[in-house]
Amino acid sequence: LTFVSPLQAGKLGLGRPALPDEVAAWDLDVRPDGTGLPDGSGDVLTGEEIFADNCAVCHGDFAEGVDNWPKLAGGMGTLDRDDPLKTVGSYWPYLSTTWDYVNRSMPFGNAQSLTPDEVYGVVAYILYSNDLVDEDFVLSRDTFTEVHLPNADGFIVDDRKSAEAHFVTDPCMQNCKDKVEITMRARVLDVTPDTGD
């Protein structure tokens, strides 16, 4: 194999063409429409077993989370309340994100150790834990597009320019309020680590 230099007008001719196998090895991201999903499939019950072996130690047997580790299930209907619980089920807009993240980044400490079939299974199980599919559900590239996550329409594009247009202003310099009172104190809460001084 000889590399062809990509030198063209305005280009320096640096780097070398990426080989198909190289692109395949790194171009793993999966998009909302399923672009990027590999062949394979996995069902809820197989997924449950894999989850129990690889994930439950941090995320709990039912994806409900252990201690401070992320909860992956539950929280439906909490987004407009105090302390919303944001999970795959309650918050995530696209299933692709779960597949992609589990595939590339989990389990924590041994990322990219699952086969595509295992990822399909685990994601099916996370859906099941969120009451979004039945226990006989099989996730594959084909069934993928059938799944719609509940909060898919829960996002708007950054609207600060309009919604916060009033922050562009000529600020008050004198007599800006009548009185000022302390309404909350960090020392009372006392959660700051001691810094030794």
Partner: protein, 401 residues
Amino acid sequence: IGAGAVAATTARAAGDPLITEPQYWAQGLGEGVDATPYGLPIEYESDVVRRNVDWLTADTISSINFTPIHALDGTITPQGCAFERHHSGAIELTKEDYRLMINGLVDTPLVFTYGDLERFPRENHVYFCECAANTGMEWAGAQLNGAQFTHGMIHNMEYTGVPLRTLLEEAGYQTTGKWVYVEGADASGNGRSIPMDKALDDVLVAFKANGEALRMEHGYPVRLVVPGWEGNMWVKWLRRIEVADAPVESREETSKYTDTLANGISRKWTWEMDAKSVVTSPSPQSPITHGPGPLVITGLAWSGRGAIKRVDVSKDGGKTWETARLAKPGERMALSRFYLDTEWDGTEMLLQSRAMDETGYVQPTKAQLREVRGLNSIYHNNCIQTWWVKPDGEAENVEVS
């Protein structure tokens, strides 16, 4: 307080012994020039370090620490104490093992070695990098007691790198490419989608910070620099850039780094960091140690939308404001240092600072922010911060009406 300080204030007619008696450092020999080929701060500054907060995260590998901004001055942040945020720990990656791929909607997908990058024309720029979660604990009210903890997820460095635009041109990006997806080499696979306009504007593929190689914890050997935009997009250990027609909607741009409003609807793609400022001294970790009289109030201001134009300071919790002095005219997407040279009467103060950027945006109060965003946004808290300075000079993080 050393014996010297006591002697200084109670100096007898005979004078301060630190002056009248020869000291060993004025007679003997100090360290030679081979003592520290690469030096560290003197032992007396050992409290000026990054700190983390144990209970914030499940472990320290996917976690954050904070820049000791309460003890720094000027604008440059030394790499050694510049905050860290990792999702899978700071990895050791050699220049030899480093590869950068550009793929997707390009004429020729390319692979670069580290050495290749050093052959492209380079630029130098000073930019701040702020984590979108900086000051996030304040949504729920005054919590952590120190500027380091409330505002320390920020640093400001002089970067040297290659414009992302240059690399995209080298690969021949196609006009159908409206986004680039950028991804790191660590196990978190931290990936973010960046609109092509920004990618072609001022984004840098950087390999040096403050003149020397990036530190391991900041992405050695190569990280992305996305001026004015949230730190999570400044992908470390950058390994891949994909030109695409749509965003990936990765975990870091859906599950995280989206801002939930009071009605449960969440803003996404909130990339720019709003104009913001904080008084770094006096502050809870930097109390006033002298009595009434001349006092320097100082702090930092920045905006992801351009240069800082003005900073005002209030001593009475926002009733009245004075315009502070900027150490230099504001520079785009870089920290500005402000000073208010004032006279302290020894009574309590409710210290605040308020930044204004070149777009005319004025840093809002907590109340103003909450009115629009509620309490659950987690990210992008650019509220006006209040320190309650007491007559003994101690300061506390408080919230005021």
